[in-house]
């Protein structure tokens, strides 16, 4: 009986998460596009819904809500469904939509998308070989095999995003890095842009007039075609057409210049807005946060280096260690069991919420930046895939932040994975990502002032 109640609670929450994913898709991601293939929206919402359910189960585990056996059952079921989606459904649909965009293969869409999916499976399988993730006693199609590979990809993504985020966050928040932009700079650039446009226009006017006079005189401007045409054009060529090609080249160069100027002007406007924002109260608050985050970022990089160099994997989670410290060193006595449950709930809850929110914001920004009306379907599905893998691996890593008694269910469900390997891998990729982001941002920052200060 209680199993039924538990299941209905789970199903209701799953529907809620599905609805949230649907709304997010419609309101945020696909704001400017028209949804023509509802399959895409359904897949995205389903992935989001099941990923959130996994987090919900962790929270239930900590709080002790629901029956233990029904929790275990739902874990298993949820995991199977998510793996099915991430390994079978989403890649297949990505292949299908990619093939649909190519006109030549339109007729045999299904065949080619199956081919693409098989290629994906091959590489996905090969991914597991170089890593010491599993003991070989498991069968081919077991959950452990799939999860281990999904975990590797997801952990890599998490570490990359984490590293870049840790460095980028103080860089954007702190106003120390803002370049000084005055209105005269912007006006100067705008003037240059308009001048370039005027030059392009005058050259195009000449070309249009020349073509018109040629057309009126009865000459036909045809490009040399074929082998004999090319040989002929070497020796004899109409003077008009030669002139035109020359002007056309100049126009191409000028158009490239105008594009550069446009992008630089947009950049200057953005910097000016940021400067004005930093003078407001909110801006000052973020600036202060920026200093705090930069210290945190440096500490994290330091800890990652130490972990790798000294080959150390933390044995206890922050909650238990914090309690140990307060009890042993500060001498404050309190009910360990009670508090550890609540504190780990709060900590894990914060981690989950911030990572979901952070991921959704990053995905939205990424989507706006690179999508167009043709490729929007494929990109959304790619984002759904990334999101699913990200959430699955956060479950793997979150295990480290929980006290021992709550870790058991994750260990039970996910099987005998080498969890320590994932943490080590996370540290390595985090370090690499953070250091390369620092290098990248440093170069970009140095290069920018020289570009627009030139007379």
């Amino acid at each position: 009986m209680s199993f039924l109640i538990d299941s209905s609670i789970m199903i209701i929450s799953q529907i809620l998460f599905f609805g949230f994913g649907w709304l997010f898709f419609m309101r945020q991601l696909f704001k400017d596009y028209e949804v023509r293939q509802y399959v895409v929206q359904v897949i995205f919402s389903v992935t989001f819904g099941f990923s959130c359910t996994m987090f919900e189960l962790i929270i239930f585990e900590i709080l002790g809500v629901l029956n233990s056996s029904s929790r275990y059952f739902h874990w298993k079921m949820n995991l199977c469904i998510i793996l099915l989606i991430l390994v079978f459904m989403v890649p297949f649909y990505i292949g299908y939509f990619v093939v649909s965009n190519i006109r030549l293969l339109h007729k045999q869409r299904l065949v080619f998308s199956c081919l693409l999916w098989l290629t994906f499976m091959y590489f996905f399988w090969k991914l597991g070989d170089p890593f010491p993730i599993l003991s070989p006693k498991h069968g081919i199609l077991s959950i452990e095999q799939l999860i281990s590979r999904v975990g590797v990809i997801g952990v890599t993504l998490m570490a990359l995003l984490s590293g870049f985020g840790a460095v980028n966050c103080p860089y954007t928040y702190m106003s120390y890095f803002l370049r000084n932009v005055t209105d005269t700079d912007i006006l100067g650039l705008e003037r240059r842009l308009l001048q370039t446009m005027d030059m392009i226009i005058s050259k195009k006017k000449r070309m249009a007039m020349a073509r018109r006079t040629m057309f009126q005189k009865g000459e036909v401007h045809n490009k040399p075609s074929g082998f004999w045409g090319m040989i002929k054009s070497v020796t004899t060529s109409a003077p008009g057409s030669e002139n035109l090609t020359l002007i056309q080249q100049e126009v191409d160069a000028l158009e490239e210049l105008s594009r550069q100027l446009f992008l630089e002007t947009a950049d200057l406007y953005a910097t000016k807005e940021r400067i004005e924002y930093s003078k407001t109260f909110k801006g000052k608050y973020f600036n202060f946060l920026g200093y705090f985050f930069s210290i945190y970022c440096v500490w994290k990089i330091f800890m990652a280096t130490i972990n790798i160099v000294f080959d150390r994997v933390g044995k206890t989670d922050p909650v238990t260690r914090g309690i140990e410290i307060t009890v042993n060193y500060l001498g404050i006595q309190f009910d360990v069991k009670f508090w550890s449950q609540h504190i780990s709930f709060i900590l894990v809850g914060i981690i989950i919420v911030t990572s979901i929110r952070g991921l959704l914001i990053t995905l939205t920004k990424f989507f706006y930046a690179i999508s167009s009306s043709k490729s929007s379907n494929v990109i959304v599905l790619l984002l759904a895939q990334i999101m699913g893998m990200y959430f699955v691996s956060s479950v793997l890593l979150i295990r480290m932040s929980m006290p021992l008694e709550y870790r058991t269910i994750i260990t039970e469900v996910l099987g005998e994975l080498q969890f320590n390997f994932y943490h080590r891998w996370f540290d390595v990729i985090f370090l690499v990502s953070a250091l390369s982001s620092i290098l990248f941002l440093y170069l970009a920052h140095k290069q920018a002032p020289e570009k627009h200060m030139a007379p």
């Binding site: 028209e34 007039m209 947009a266 009306s373």
Partner: protein
């Protein structure tokens, strides 16, 4: 050549509706083979004989300014785009007949372009609401063009064309629906085939523009 008068026409619309193809077709009399994203603004020029055949015939340069981007761009991009909206003689609004959102976004596009003169500091104040009053005393002629008519199935064409007729009425604009193809144009059911007739079509489009 500089002695000919110039007319500046903006071509606005969402990403991917076919503005660059349209401009290329009007100016080069050729279909654009490999359309790619427009960054910033691309300009093309067409020489046009106004009131051809009459004693008041005058030749003009028509500059078609094809501004790229979307209505949802960052405000810094919008401020940069605003520099192109100076002293405009006419606006062509392009939308995709297969994509409803691109037609709805036309309201925001026209507000962005027409409000340029009211807010000289470059900070655009648009709340997205559509106000017909705003267009009532608008002196700049508008033309609404719907593209990709051939991609709509025969049975749905009537419904789509009625919707776009309402759209054009809202703007107090002239409307043309067309197909960018090598062979023919469709103008509200009339067929004007072939290239020799291109000039006549061009004359029909631009008869709204006067330049004193």
């Amino acid at each position: 050549m500089a002695s000919l008068d110039r007319v500046k026409v903006l071509v606005l619309g969402d990403s991917g509706v076919g503005k660059s193809s349209l401009v290329h077709l009007l100016c080069q009399n050729q279909v654009l083979g490999n359309p790619s994203w427009t960054v910033g603004c691309s300009v093309d020029v067409r020489v046009h004989d106004y009131k051809e055949g009459t004693p008041e015939e005058k030749t003009y340069y028509i500059e078609l300014w094809d501004v790229g981007g979307s209505v949802g761009s960052a405000s810094s991009v919008k401020s940069t785009r605003a520099v192109f909206y100076n002293s405009v003689n006419g606006i062509i609004l392009v939308h995709d007949l297969t994509n409803k959102k691109s037609s709805q976004n036309l309201y925001r596009w026209s507000s962005e372009a027409l409000n340029r003169d009211l807010v000289p500091t470059g900070v655009l104040v648009t709340n997205g609401d559509y106000d017909r009053e705003q267009f009532a005393d608008n002196q700049i002629p508008l033309l609404v063009i719907g593209t990709k008519l051939d991609q709509i199935h025969e049975t749905k064409r009537h419904e789509v064309l009625t919707r776009t007729a309402f759209l054009a009425e809202d703007f107090i604009a002239e409307e043309i629906n067309l197909v960018i193809e090598k062979r023919y144009f469709l103008r509200e059911g009339n067929q004007i085939p072939g290239f020799p007739d291109r000039k006549r079509f061009g004359g029909g489009t631009l008869k709204n523009l006067h330049y004193d």
